[in-house]
Symmetry: D2
Subunit: 346 residues, 4 copies
């Protein structure tokens, strides 16, 4: 049987190159086309020595494919994805261009007018743990942002169960690869090594995405969310620590409450291949290179507060791995295909 032909648009960023690493070993898929502007004409293996086994030349235009992954920056991505859909190609867009349901959010948060607002309704937010059946039926997936993936998976069971107040603080710590392969002083080695800082205090672009999805998990008014990302001196990984008050009368206090809480999370993620509810505070290291999200719901007994922590690899569950998980669902492959490799520790 012939393999599904996959293309990677903008293979030269970290999400693109991670797609190449994972798709190359996917048994149902063949990478047939990889694009990139500045690197067009070069062999993929020449630009990325770790992909030496892949014999492909980077081109300016996408070749013939069944499914396309766009790893372009926002605004540019929509422009390239729209014509592909018209050609009947399945699209997984790793940019933010189809994540927000309200077209008015694009000028506000991303500085451009959306070129195809009608597609915002059709596009499915590609978080399989929440939208599995819609993803399976979709032709356009808005692959979630790295921070939203960690934040939503940390909070979804609690919001769905109605055990927390809609007043939420999300404090995330990300490795530097999340900032991409484009050069900047903020990702210059000597600046970021041995340093921690918070950024985007005026409002990070992932905030509307997080708010939108958290609101859908819970009846009533949109939760009030404060989200602060931090840059950490490591390459991969996001740890998210989310805080919210428990709604009175929903969860027992003390040890008993912790057991109830764990039960709620275990039930919610029952059967999920890529979310594990841990019994201890997770380490991002245990997800390195792997599509896993480790979630740890914990109780601050003194203050009656939920502290929900999640750990992911921002380039895998936070980008390329989740994109492949979505493609698997869209194409009818087993959801874990090509994503079975364990995390590389230590």
């Amino acid at each position: 049987m012939s393999k599904t032909k996959a293309g990677i648009i903008n293979v030269t960023g970290y999400a693109g190159v991670e797609l190449a690493r994972l798709l190359y070993r996917h048994p149902e898929v063949e990478i047939t086309s990889v694009t990139g502007r500045s690197a067009a004409g070069q062999k993929l293996a020449a630009v990325f020595p770790h992909l030496a086994d892949i014999d492909l030349t980077i081109t300016a235009e996408l070749g013939e494919v069944d499914v396309a992954f766009s790893a372009l920056p926002h605004k540019e991505s929509a422009k390239e994805c729209i014509p592909l859909l018209k050609q009947g190609i399945k699209v997984v867009d790793i940019s933010a261009d189809f994540r927000l349901k309200d077209a008015a959010d694009y000028p506000k948060w991303y500085g451009f007018t959306h070129p195809a607002p009608e597609l915002l309704k059709e596009a499915v937010f590609g978080l399989p743990e929440l939208y599995r059946s819609q993803i399976a039926a979709a032709r356009l997936i808005a692959n979630p942002g790295c921070y939203p993936t960690g934040a939503i998976l940390a909070l979804a069971p609690a919001l769905k169960a109605g055990i927390i107040e809609p007043d939420i603080i999300i404090d995330s710590k990300s490795g530097v690869s999340g900032a991409g392969r484009t050069l900047s002083l903020g990702t210059h080695y000597s600046e970021v090594n041995e340093d921690v800082s918070a950024y985007s205090l005026e409002g990070h672009r992932h905030l509307p995405e997080i708010s939108q999805e958290l609101a859908l998990l819970r009846p009533g008014p949109t939760p009030s969310v404060t989200f602060v990302p931090h840059l950490i001196p490591m390459t991969r990984g996001i740890l998210t620590t989310a805080y919210a008050r428990l709604s009175p009368g929903t969860i027992a206090s003390g040890e008993k409450g912790q057991a109830e809480l764990t039960g709620i999370y275990r039930d919610f993620y029952k059967g999920e291949s890529f979310v594990k509810v841990a019994a201890a505070s997770p380490h991002t290291k245990h997800t390195w290179g792997n599509n896993l999200c480790i979630v740890y719901p914990s109780l601050d007994i003194r203050q009656n507060r939920l502290i929900a922590i999640s750990a992911i690899d921002n380039l895998v569950k936070g980008a390329a791995g989740q994109a492949i998980q979505n493609m698997n669902l869209m194409c009818g492959f087993p959801e874990t295909t090509g994503l079975e490799g364990l995390a590389v520790y230590p």
Copy 2:
């Protein structure tokens, strides 16, 4: 004029060795005695090559000194400090043994019965920005913990001004040196490198210290504090991100509110040598090796929340540097003496 004789008890931990580095260059002080158990009998320079210029032998017992710094672990420190006070020696205790005012907290949080509860009243919490005059008159200083230093300095102006609700979340990110020089799997290089994790979710020992001090800054009930520390793959530095709702009607909304907020912080820290109120999100790197605390108060305009961030070097303002600042006050030296070196960047 003869110099003040200083002794360092347990010089072989990171706080102790940092005291040696800083005191050696202090113009009013001479280090005359350094103690350590396992290393007793060895030359200080043999154990710590960067102290090659200091000609001292590590001893088991403290020699003759005017002022003693104890860098012993909790419980052991109190036992060694008490007799020194009786000899008329000024003591700066870097352990937690005199920080908590309520003796009942010691069995609960530290697992031992305090040997001298009467000293808890006398001991001054060594945060000069809050207790300068008391420190100057004291003979026993409880040098604050590294996390409390960052957290209290981030929140003090807002609490004092009564602009935030007493419901506070403190999310701290610490370099690994905070865990000390004692070996453990959690500080083994390959385990902590390229990793972030939260710890002590069941309640970190610095929580009662933070709560005690925050309560004193504000009339009314003790604030409800959730504190979660995180371990970051770097050697030095603590970044603290603190969150609290603004009290209605206290601060304008929008840009105007940010200016008011900055004004409140600038006024509070006016004239302080070691606290700077920054106009942008601070980096721990800018305090590396230096006694500075950089504070950045910020407004989440959408949610009407204070986000107050502080950056310190955990071994300097969070331990040895602050101890010397306290000693300067106790001994009548200018407060900045011996602490003038700028941060080492990058």
Copy 3:
């Protein structure tokens, strides 16, 4: 068809745990037994969260297996491996206990008398690029050390071709995981982070192994080898830079010589799956998590010297991956089985 039953002795060290990661995804093998002393009785997944999918309990004694990997320290490993051979179990020993052909080297370099000198002749040095057919026929493999793997692969083509003088300097740079999971001050995070140092200047234990193998590649007297390992602040990877004078008249000078040199290396490693001869200076990062050795032979035209560089992941090609490559050969599986995952970059 039933799978080959594999056991890992001392699964709790970094080589052991890396074997578990890789073997778990090996299609011809089932891990049926994992041992460990201090962790006996615990679930493997409880000790190592990234192995959460593997349902095995760590035991004190090895269960029934077809092939055993010993990741024990030297001296202890031989003692455990010898009885296994008698039971007809194939053994890949990752320790040094069967690497040296001369039993007299054990008291000298490892401080113990070898318990089975007769096995030193039988054991095959498990570097498939040199001993492929012997490995396929062997029942006992001495898996090479991490430094020797990088050093020998960097120099073998040049020695075999007779183009260098037998006076060799090997300067290696290793990540910290090479020092294992046992706690020590030298691998304590705050000590090794932001630091580089040379060690074992009095003679590292891998020196006799390197000398033995280099001597076998070249007729005439044993080469004079100086080997200096360095510790680098990263978790995985060894970069080896080897220096030797070119033998007069063997290689052209200038550009032409570089082409000849590359040709010699390309010919030597023709058809090898796990050695790539690169056209540029390699990065250890491009082998992270993967069984590849990247070799770059280069000419110092001014001094008529070979500079041969190799990059490996010390835990994969330098330990667990190479052990599986050896097992594949011993068991008649395709050599690359279970080792196909690409390096995780960045």
Copy 4:
């Protein structure tokens, strides 16, 4: 008495900003002018928060100074330094523009024709341990490169004593700050973190400088030098490992030889404030932020070879600190003035 007025040309690179940090605390000097092109018009403290105490505006042109430090790139530096000399300003040039004695080396190694070859004879190579008296009398100092500083100090005593053959291998490991503050993919965090690589195998620009100075230390033909620099995932520090055969009959073999060797080095560096001859393999960490060079001469007894190791902070003894040491000599200040701060460890 009035202070010496110092200017820093191109303060915005890492050498420039390190000069500012150290000069600000120099008791005999006042920084009166700092220049920078892209940052002209900005406050120094705004660009570099750790310099918050320094109240200076970055200008395009240098103001009135007694001594100027140029931290410009090569080629540009000479052009700015030449007119300053004519104005009677003492100049310490941190670039390579006056280091090489033979003007013909500039087109060959640096790609430009030297604008003032006559100054190459006058300029003094600013390594105080070799040229102290000439420096004291000079008006133009060519501050040594970071690699040459480490390499020459590691080898000088052995070459001067005539105990090694003139066939030398220098393998250096440098932190990333040596590559400067200008953005490049090779210094992008995610590329260089968890990676080691060799570079400039075709011939690094510091090679002619090293060869020139090593040749001057020894009668007879110019030594044959192979020099390979490596990039290490840390911010500061260079460790240099140099290898050379012992000349027959010059040094005893075995333990006795090691003592003789140490004696030769101790004698050579007797009275030096900034070179320490260590009794064990040095760590770059022990020089962090400090002007020290730690040298460890060691004997490979088996191969009768010298292994000489040195550790420096590339931005201090390898750049800004040594520049200040040179200025102290030129201005008649005690050589250690302003450089007394101990290394920041851990």
